[in-house]
């Protein structure tokens, strides 16, 4: 990129908004998936929609690829810069523009931190439902790109359920509005297409969110089982009884050990732990909690605890939320996966994972959003031992293939990004992917917006999928995640 263009970009964002020195650019060379690294040519930190538009117009004119970035907590390399491209960081656009309680809407800029939305509306008994566990640092713009989930999406839905409208800068710099504060705006549901498109269709500069009234009460139950099979059967029992809990989470023994070592959540030592959360009107929740208790007992739960106070609940969740980072306590390195299976395939897939793990001679810890079949197997290895890293990558890929074979998905909430694009052609046939590309062609005919993500391309030299290491914010104790 020549100096003339850099000057032009600097002129758009004022001095503070342009980063081009190599030492400062290092912060932006990866996101939460740290094994992929690409140095961007420059990072722009616009402060307004107008500045985003001006930057994108320059990129369009000069054919410079760009990657939008929120807090950089993504786990699939979605915010990885592209060669010879720029990064557009939205962190300075962090205002909550409007809170409209009578209509249960909030209008925010993309750099607003997820948890800050709830913090702002809690006094009036409202909350913002999507809760990725990086929610104390991840941005709404990033959530929109990834269609982030979280533990409570079982009942409340994903980011896409809660985004009613978007102001978007298209890859040619034009400004458009999808959806709105009212429902069913005339025309195609482009907000639905945009959410989860991982930054490949443009940059959201304003987001209209649906906010939700807090339930009358929340109850969290912890049940200890012999193995994931019994715990899984209890989950099926709860669903078959016609209940829709706010969350159902499962951890296996290795994950429990790691969580205990890290945060002392005082979990029972058992083969599998189930965490069931119900919310709603008090009388309804208490009645259903009795059922959940019975179902867990009848599936062999050895110990059942119900957290009654907010403090007890927080402790129960703390161990679960710390599970990924806690792996560092029991293994030098690990890969986080994000496969999804139909819930009923759990026993079969689990026994396959055990078999694959034994064959590879590597341990796999399992943390699940059990209610919706979203698995987070953590493949543990030691980079210092020759061959283990490669074996871990192969094992991790094999687990995703198990998910596909079971009729599931390669990603439930972390996104495809850079990391899993090579798996896309195992999940989708060529006409499926080409059709998605045609839709992309309508938004971004020149393929400038995050051009190298989601869709499979020939494997590049030196590409190393998978390994997880903590985000700097996580290491510093400022964040935790599922």
């Amino acid at each position: 990129m020549d100096a003339r263009i850099l000057d032009e970009l600097r002129g758009i964002v004022d001095g503070r908004g342009l980063i081009s020195s190599p030492e400062e650019l290092h912060t932006y060379e990866c996101d939460g998936l740290t094994n992929f690294r690409v140095m961007p040519r420059a990072v722009l930190l616009p402060a307004s929609t107008e500045q985003v538009q001006k930057i994108v117009r320059v990129c369009h004119r000069e054919r410079i690829p760009f990657v939008a970035r929120g807090s950089g907590t993504g786990l699939s390399g979605g915010a990885l810069p592209v060669e010879n491209g720029i990064v557009i960081g939205l962190a300075r656009m962090n205002r909550i523009l409007e809170v409209d309680f009578p209509n249960a809407r909030a209008v925010v800029e993309p750099g607003v931190i997820n948890l800050d939305v709830t913090a702002r509306i809690l006094y009036n008994e409202f909350f913002y439902a999507p809760d990725p566990s990086s929610q104390s640092i991840c941005s709404i713009g990033g959530n929109v790109a990834e269609n982030s989930g979280g533990a409570h999406c079982l009942k409340y839905g994903f980011t896409t359920t809660h985004v009613l409208g978007l102001e978007v800068v298209l890859p040619d710099g034009s400004l458009v509005h999808f959806g709105g504060k009212t429902l069913d705006t005339p025309g195609y549901d482009l907000a639905g297409v945009f959410v989860g498109s991982e930054g490949t269709l443009g940059i959201a500069t304003k987001i209209i969110l649906r906010i939700v009234k807090r339930p009358e009460c929340v109850r969290t139950l912890l049940a200890a089982f012999l193995s994931t099979n019994e715990a899984g059967a209890a989950v099926s029992g709860i669903i078959a009884a016609g209940m829709l809990p706010a969350a159902i989470e499962m951890m296996d023994n290795l994950a429990i050990q790691a969580a205990e070592a890290a945060v002392h959540a005082n979990y029972p030592d058992c083969g599998a732990l189930l965490l069931v959360e119900l919310d709603g009107p008090l009388a309804e929740v208490e009645t259903l909690m009795v059922h959940v208790n019975e179902i867990c007992r009848s599936h062999g739960a050895s110990e059942i605890r119900v957290a009654k106070s907010d403090a007890e609940r927080a402790l129960v969740w703390k161990g679960r939320k710390a599970a990924f980072a806690a792996m560092g306590r029991i293994s030098p390195n690990y890969i986080v996966q994000d496969g999804v299976i139909p819930r009923t395939a759990l026993p079969k897939v689990m026994s396959e994972i055990v078999r694959l793990s034994q064959e590879a001679g590597l341990r796999v810890a399992n943390v699940f959003h059990a209610g919706d079949g979203n698995l987070h197997p953590l493949v543990l290895y030691d980079r210092g031992v020759s061959g283990q890293e490669e074996a871990a990558e192969i094992l991790s890929g094999n687990i995703l293939e198990l998910c596909i074979a079971a009729g599931g998905s390669i990603t439930g909430e972390h996104g495809v990004g850079e990391d899993k694009k090579k798996m896309m052609s195992k999940m989708f046939a060529e006409p499926d992917l080409l059709t998605m590309q045609r839709v992309r062609g309508a938004f971004d005919p020149l393929q400038l917006s995050n051009p190298t993500k989601i869709f499979p391309t020939p494997r590049l030299c030196g590409e190393k999928p998978g390994e997880y290491s903590p985000h700097p914010l996580e290491s510093a104790g400022l964040a935790e995640r599922f």
């Binding site: 009212t182 705006t185 025309g187 549901d189 009234k213 339930p215 009388a283 009645t287 938004f443």
Partner: protein, 430 residues
């Protein structure tokens, strides 16, 4: 059209028809009857493929021949949308009516587009489940049609719209491509969310051949109540109080009829103990206003707006407003109706989506609909004209799509470049 062109088009049509018959057999290719007209436009032939490969092939052949294709399910909402600019072939999904898989333990169903909602719900109910959606005319309406028209009723407040329930789709594109996206699991972010793109696209991008939905359990018990409110302002206050309470109601709607006192209906689902507690809570909230137990039939109020419809003097519209402006929008409607001497009736859900029936002179209906659309659009809402008397001056079905129309046209261009599917029926001439 002069005689020469007409004869040429008939010849083209005959040879094409022969091609279809040799492909599908004579039983599945029929000449169109006057009753098959689409918003007043007469198509030539009705084609009923037997599976999605055949469907995609018929579509490809038609596209190649430059013919306009109108996809059709149960034809319950075929009259919605602008009249097509061209209509050659009606592509019926009637024979694609299988429930491919009800994975009841996983709470999902895979289903062909031509299956009726009622048949699907009956099958799901055998395992105590449902698609949590209450569309119009479920005994005739098909999965593909309900999706394409994005129809939803009172359950939307709790369970969301079709966009929130669909998790996978297979689309036949005009070039013959069969493309699937989404999948069979509820939580899935791999690739673009094309199930949402197909939902509400009015069959202008592709023909839905299959869909996968997430399901919900049938409720243990349900109870409905009606609350008589004296004025629109009282209606607003009551709806706001309910929405702002800790009640976990499943549906909430207001019914308005001319100058009569509006009624508000509320639905609870759950266990006996839970319902008792919610009922007590509701009675506390309403205080003076009378709460009466209601029959579940009140949830048909939306559909009953179409009852004994006089096509030549009735207009029907769907409108969207901000949830807090329901009462204001009702006053707007009442005022416009009064000025034009129109009878009116409306049902509005607490989501801000409403349905309106207006009766009167064709010219007055036209003026009133235009006026209402203008006012709703000014408040970020919209008004869709679903039915109008033939004698009424023409009015666009959809209204303003905003600054995103060029992008919508680009999406259309990518998937249906020859404008084969439902030409001219959708927003902005798409």
């Amino acid at each position: 059209m002069d005689a020469a062109t007409q004869s040429q088009s008939t010849t083209l049509h005959s040879s094409f028809r022969y091609k279809l018959i040799s492909f599908l057999g004579p039983d599945h290719v029929h000449a169109a009857a006057p009753a098959d007209a689409v918003a007043g436009i007469q198509p030539k032939v009705i084609v009923s493929p037997g599976n999605e490969r055949e469907l995609a092939e018929v579509l490809r052949l038609s596209n190649e021949a430059g013919l306009a294709v109108i996809p059709r399910g149960g034809a319950t909402k075929l009259g919605w949308g602008n009249p097509p600019s061209r209509a050659d072939l009606v592509l019926s999904t009637a024979r694609l009516n299988e429930i491919t898989e009800h994975a009841w333990a996983d709470l999902t169903v895979s289903i062909e587009a031509g299956c009726t909602l009622q048949k699907m719900q009956e099958t799901l109910a055998q395992h105590g489940q449902r698609l949590a959606l209450d569309p119009l005319w479920p005994e005739k309406a098909t999965v593909g049609g309900v999706l394409s028209a994005n129809d939803s009723g009172a359950l939307r407040l709790r369970f969301g719209a079709l966009r929130d329930l669909i998790i996978g789709v297979t689309l036949a594109l005009p070039d013959g491509t069969l493309a699937s996206s989404g999948g069979k699991v509820v939580k899935n972010v791999a690739g673009y969310d094309l199930p949402k793109l197909a939902t509400g696209a009015f069959g202008t991008l592709g023909v839905i051949s299959r869909a996968v939905f997430r399901l919900h359990p049938l409720p243990h018990l349900s109870r409905s109540f009606s609350v008589a409110t004296a004025t629109a302002e009282e209606t607003r206050r009551f709806i706001h109080a309910v929405q702002n309470s800790k009640l976990a109601h499943t549906a909430l709607q207001a019914r308005f009829e001319g100058g009569a006192a509006p009624e508000v209906d509320i639905l609870f689902e759950g266990t006996e103990a839970g319902l008792d507690a919610q009922e007590a809570h509701l009675r506390e909230l309403t205080q003076t206003a009378g709460v009466t137990k209601a029959s579940p039939d009140i949830w048909n109020a939306r559909q009953s707006l179409w009852s004994s419809l006089k096509p030549e003097s009735t207009a029907l519209a769907k409108f969207t407003v901000l949830p807090a402006e329901i009462e204001k929008s009702m006053e707007t409607i009442a005022k416009s109706a009064r000025a034009r001497h129109l009878e009116w009736k409306g049902v509005v859900q607490a989501t801000g989506i409403g349905w309106l029936r207006l009766e009167g002179g064709a010219k007055d209906l036209h003026v009133s609909l235009q006026e209402l659309r203008e006012q709703f659009e000014r408040g970020t809402g919209s008004l869709l004209v679903l039915h109008r008397p033939a004698a009424m001056p023409s009015i666009d079905t959809w209204g303003d799509a905003g600054d995103v129309l060029p992008l919508m046209k680009a999406v259309k261009q990518q998937l249906d470049p020859k404008n084969t599917l439902n030409p001219g029926r959708f927003v902005g001439g798409i």
